[in-house]
């Protein structure tokens, strides 16, 4: 088995004058829970569609388990499962019939399939609604069934495109649990979302995509290091000497004079606090406000792109 299950090299895709993907290069290791984070229209769905063989790239290549992926290669297609952004289930079939139908298409043994359907229905919390038509389900239930259908054939690579769109918090939590469980069972997951909290909570490695390009790709701690947490303290400014003293403290990024006093900013939250406290005590200065801007992917994204993730 190849260690790298998915290698994407210099993928470009245009829709008319719009460049959907501008030379995307990525690799996903087997067993990873890989996140694709980016705003709507960043090119995430286009990238997943190319990986799944639903779209042809203009240039570039996709290697799946070390082999060039062609949509015609049915054996390689078996390796992939997809949870599409839009639901992809039959509303007039029951939950169980949906799972059995797609399992049948992948040629699963009927007995194995029946057991698998029961397992999946239980896993996604639909065992009590197994024989109800999917069209009668709530949005969250449909999403969960959509996920069950995507993994009925136990794919090695699961592509999830915004799997929590329009679901209630309870279903969202259940989907997270299922995704984590699938990943821990060895399934590689590529998880796209424009919700940075989801990606941050789930993914071990994340690619940040914007305007058709991967602008950063690393583990979560490394990405967060691009824009660490920042402490902002507002103080009185008794004299110019105090302002200089603060500016000279190790770990202080900036000291800015404002009409009400000073604003001190620092990324070294742990070490700077006792030093600041000591200086304030000596000058008898009381902090007026303390603000902590935690390091998040949102801030990293803003830092890297100059615009907010939800723009």
């Amino acid at each position: 088995m190849n260690r790298t299950i998915l290698e994407i090299d210099s993928i470009r895709k245009r829709y008319g004058a719009t460049h959907a993907l501008n030379g995307v290069t990525l690799s996903v290791e087997s067993g990873e829970l890989f996140g694709l984070l980016g705003p709507n229209g960043a090119g995430k769905t286009t990238l997943l569609s190319i990986i799944a063989g639903l779209l042809n790239a203009d240039t570039g290549s996709v290697l799946l388990d070390g082999q060039p992926f062609r949509a015609q290669n049915r054996e390689l297609r078996r390796l992939i499962g997809i949870g599409t952004q839009d639901l992809a289930i039959y509303p007039d079939l029951t939950a169980r019939e949906n799972i059995l139908f797609f399992g049948d298409l992948y040629g699963l043994n009927r007995q194995v399939l029946s057991t698998r359907a029961d397992e999946l229905l239980t896993a996604v919390g639909l065992q009590d609604r197994a024989n109800h038509r999917a069209g009668t389900f709530s949005g969250g239930m449909k999403r969960r069934l959509n996920l069950a259908v995507a993994v009925v054939h136990s794919p090695r690579l699961l592509l999830l495109d915004e799997p929590t769109t329009g679901v209630d918090p309870q279903s969202r939590q259940l989907i997270f649990t299922i995704v984590k469980s699938l990943n821990s069972s060895g399934m590689t997951v590529v998880y796209t979302s424009h919700y940075m909290e989801e990606v941050q909570a789930l993914c071990t490695r994340i690619a940040i995509v914007d305007r058709g390009s991967v602008i950063a790709c690393d583990t979560l701690p490394e990405l967060l290091r691009l824009r660490p947490s920042r402490l902002k303290i507002k103080l009185e400014s008794p004299n110019e000497r105090f302002e200089k003293r603060l500016g000279a403290l190790d770990g202080v990024q900036s000291v800015t004079a404002v009409p009400e006093g000073l604003i001190v900013e620092s990324d070294a939250i742990g070490p700077i606090l006792p030093r600041l406290a000591e200086a304030c005590l000596e000058e008898n200065v009381t902090p007026r406000a303390i603000e902590l801007n935690e390091s998040t992917l949102e801030r990293v994204f803003l830092h890297l792109t100059g615009h907010a993730l939800r723009d």
Partner: protein, 470 residues
């Protein structure tokens, strides 16, 4: 193979769970056949065509024993031959007076002519001359034509259809005069020169009684010849209209003379001829409504996103198409046989002399319908597009083909154009099998081959369209 079966089973299940399919493919054609059959179904009687129908009950007992050498058959046959020999007139023979009375009473016939048992005997007595030259003579003529009752003709009229009745009565009057007047002239002309005639002449020509009988006969003969020579264009002894006018007798068209067929029974006119046109017509029309069912299946795969799943599943495109085509073909076959079955059981549609040939006709029609449906499904992207454009196409083809209204009502040029539709070929085959007592299997086979050709063309276009769109 398993993938195809899986897809086919799934689509069959979806079709069965969609009430629209059953309503459009089965319920609508049955209801339409029923409603049109009951309301204006008579217009769909292929025997009607554009001919004037003269309904006759012939009770004529024939010529009297002393009728002589002429005529050689009953006078009623002369009259019926005259009708049948007239272009665009169709004679319909009704068996009994009671049947005729019922038909007129119910308004199904505007007028029925009854030739009474003494018809031939009375016609035979018609004469320009009176006693003693003619025994018991009858003068049937009067200012407006013939006194029909005087010659044993009873006219039953529907008082609500006076105009239609008047037209038929005028036709009957003319035909009767063409039969009776040459007979009356011939008899009169033959009398010229006979002793009885010459005897009458004594009253008007002084001294004639002095002439010997042989001379009188010669004079009589000469008078006959003289008159004949004067009126060279006529043969006054002909006794038939053709001979009197020295023209060719009209060909007797047996096809213009048919026995009355009861136009069905009960409220829905079960067994009426109209159903031989309506049932196949609507069976063919609604076979092509499969376009909607199949189009919806494809469009809903797109709408529900499941087409994406099918595209990434390890199945080939041909398997996917075959998996979708088979259930639709199955539905179409069930529809075709079910509608014919309903036609047979509910509407009393006779299945003809070669019912086994209905199987390939239904099958080939279904294949053509599936082909067209697949073609539309490959083009239309949404269910709205399928509904709007699919319905338009199906109605247009049905209207052009003659499956909505009988082709014999269409202008000649339009009948030729119908051949560009698969419907027309299917209707040809059904017409042979359901209407023709001696079905021409060659025509049926040709129609089936044409339908298969349509199917192949449609499916090729669908395959090409799906390749391009992918």
């Amino acid at each position: 193979m398993r993938a195809i079966v899986t897809l086919a089973v799934k689509d069959t299940r979806l079709i069965l769970r969609d009430p629209r399919a059953a309503v459009i493919l089965l319920l609508m054609p049955i209801l339409l056949v029923l409603v049109i059959g009951v309301t204006v179904g008579g217009a769909f009687d292929p025997n009607k065509k554009e001919q004037l129908r003269i309904s006759v009950v012939n009770l004529d007992a024939g010529l009297p024993p002393d009728a002589g050498d002429f005529p050689d058959r009953a006078w009623s046959q002369f009259l019926l031959d005259d009708f049948a020999g007239t272009a665009d007139i169709k004679v319909e023979l009704i068996a009994t007076r009671e049947d005729a009375q019922n038909l007129v009473r119910s308004g199904e016939r505007a007028v029925v002519i009854i030739l009474e048992p003494e018809f031939s005997a009375l016609i035979h007595r018609c004469s320009f001359v009176g006693e003693p030259l003619k025994k018991n003579p009858i003068n049937p003529l009067y200012r407006d034509g013939m006194r029909t009752q005087t010659v044993g003709v009873t006219v039953l009229r529907d008082p609500t259809q006076e105009v239609a009745a008047a037209v038929v009565e005028q036709v009957v009057q003319v035909a009767l005069m063409r039969v009776v007047i040459p007979w009356m002239i011939g008899q009169a002309f033959e009398m010229i020169g006979t002793p009885a005639f010459m005897d009458k002449m004594k009253k008007y020509v002084a001294g004639i009684e002095l002439l010997p009988p042989s001379l009188l006969k010669s004079i009589g003969d000469a008078m006959q010849k003289g008159i004949s020579g004067f009126f060279v264009d006529y043969d006054f002894q002909g006794k038939t209209w053709a001979k009197l006018t020295k023209s060719e007798p009209p060909p007797v068209k047996d096809s213009n003379r048919t026995a009355y067929q009861s136009d069905g029974t009960g409220t829905i006119r079960r067994g009426a001829v109209r159903y031989q046109t309506l049932v196949p017509g609507y069976t063919v029309t609604f076979a092509f409504f499969l376009v909607l069912v199949m189009g919806w299946l494809f469009a809903s795969e797109r709408r529900h996103g499941t087409l994406v799943r099918l595209q990434i599943a390890p199945i080939a495109r041909w398997q996917l198409l075959l998996g979708k085509l088979l259930p639709c073909l199955g539905v179409s076959l069930v529809q075709g046989f079910a509608l014919l079955g309903v036609g047979y059981l509910l509407f009393g549609l006779p299945l003809g002399a070669r019912p086994e040939w209905l199987i390939p006709v239904v099958a080939c029609t279904s294949l053509a319908a599936v082909g067209l449906a697949m073609m539309v499904a490959s083009v239309a992207k949404t269910e709205q597009q399928v509904s709007v454009y699919g319905t338009l196409l199906v109605i247009l083809l049905a209207g052009m083909s003659g499956s909505l209204m009988p082709r014999y009502l269409m202008p000649e040029e339009m009948r030729a154009i119908t051949r560009i539709t698969p419907h027309a070929w299917s209707l040809d085959a059904y017409a042979q099998l359901l209407t023709n007592p001696d079905p021409q299997i060659g025509i049926v086979t040709t129609a089936c081959l044409a339908l298969l050709g349509f199917s192949a063309v449609f499916l090729s276009i669908a395959w090409w369209r799906l390749s391009v769109s992918n």
